[in-house]
Symmetry: C2
Subunit: 205 residues, 2 copies
């Protein structure tokens, strides 16, 4: 199975701008990408990075550069690939090999891992006509696209794959459940959990 | 296995006060409880409701009333039960039999289903000395309690069990993924998804 990880290399994670500088956001986004690639590398797949600008790795990772919007870039991948394709977002800082294995191993013409707030954090497409539309409540749109083309849908019920990291509140999840480079990056940058009476939040020392 | 569902019968879901009246919050909390009980009933278990005040059912559901805070009530259940106990929160509006089966079926002295924001939305305890502490980042505290008593920990990776419904933003999840009475209640009350350019939200018509 072809496994593609889209990555915004230039101006990532703008919704974290209240807590991280632009340079820090690039570093943190990169740590999350590396976590996703690490988790995929533990499975029997060779992930490819689909980046908006060149990305360097100190290991052997195929990178293709496509600076168009995400939908166009991913849909080209889907159109050009015979056989099955998995697309896994690069900000799934909690992804583990076990969670990704459940995704890749699930039966279905299309398999979705829904994300918090209506996103589609990862999917597998085994139907030649499936295409993406990531705007808005993409999981609802993707269910609709699958229905239109007569593709059977499976959804993988995973908290780890369902947690993409976009906003400051999501950093809490990384500190609570992360086991990789993203959590380490946050701790090194001085982030820690604060528990007052309500829900835990993060504070930077 | 004994399966207990704590339920706040008097003043539930105060963090939804900006979108629901007190009476509506009671109705919606009850719809969520019924969804959880429906999902459990599809498995080979007889759930008991542990409520802060009497609750009526039009079916045969054992109810015990304990008006003390949640920790005290749940810890009494744990202390008085020989053998394994599962505790499943009553606001898991997305719970399905499959998700709950993964929880109840997982090996481990204690099995946790972590919730968004550091919660412990459901657990199974097979160790006589495990006790709860739901305040703050309870999943972290529960991991610590398990470590102290030498109990082996398993965590169930479930988006459905990880989604408890506390705040208006959580209603989006119910409308996107709910299949039961809670989603129906929200739709009947006029709630619908609104997708602007950002993340989907809910609007009441």
């Amino acid at each position: 199975m072809r496994v593609v990880v889209p990555f915004s290399a230039s101006e990532p994670k703008t919704r974290l701008a209240s807590v991280l500088t632009a340079d820090e956001r690039r570093q943190f986004a990169r740590a999350m990408l590396d976590d996703v690639l690490d988790a995929l590398a533990a499975l029997d797949v060779t992930p490819e990075v689909l980046a908006t600008a060149p990305v360097d790795f100190d290991r052997d990772v195929p990178v293709s550069v496509d600076d168009r919007p995400l939908d166009a870039a991913v849909n080209d991948v889907l159109a050009e690939t015979d056989g099955s394709v998995a697309v896994v977002m690069s900000d799934l800082a909690l992804a583990t090999p076990a969670a990704l294995d459940r995704l890749l191993d699930a039966d279905g013409d299309v398999v979705f891992a829904p994300g918090r707030g209506g996103g589609t954090n990862a999917f597998v497409a085994r139907h030649p006509r499936f295409r993406v539309d990531y705007h808005g409540a993409s999981i609802r749109d993707h269910r609709g696209i699958a229905a239109e083309i007569g593709a059977g849908v499976t959804e993988v019920d995973s908290y780890r794959l369902g947690t993409d990291v976009d906003e400051p509140a999501d950093l809490t999840e990384v500190l609570l459940h992360g086991e990789g480079r993203s959590a380490e990056w946050l701790r090194d940058a001085g982030f820690e959990l604060v528990v007052d009476d309500g829900r835990p939040t993060v504070r930077r020392s």
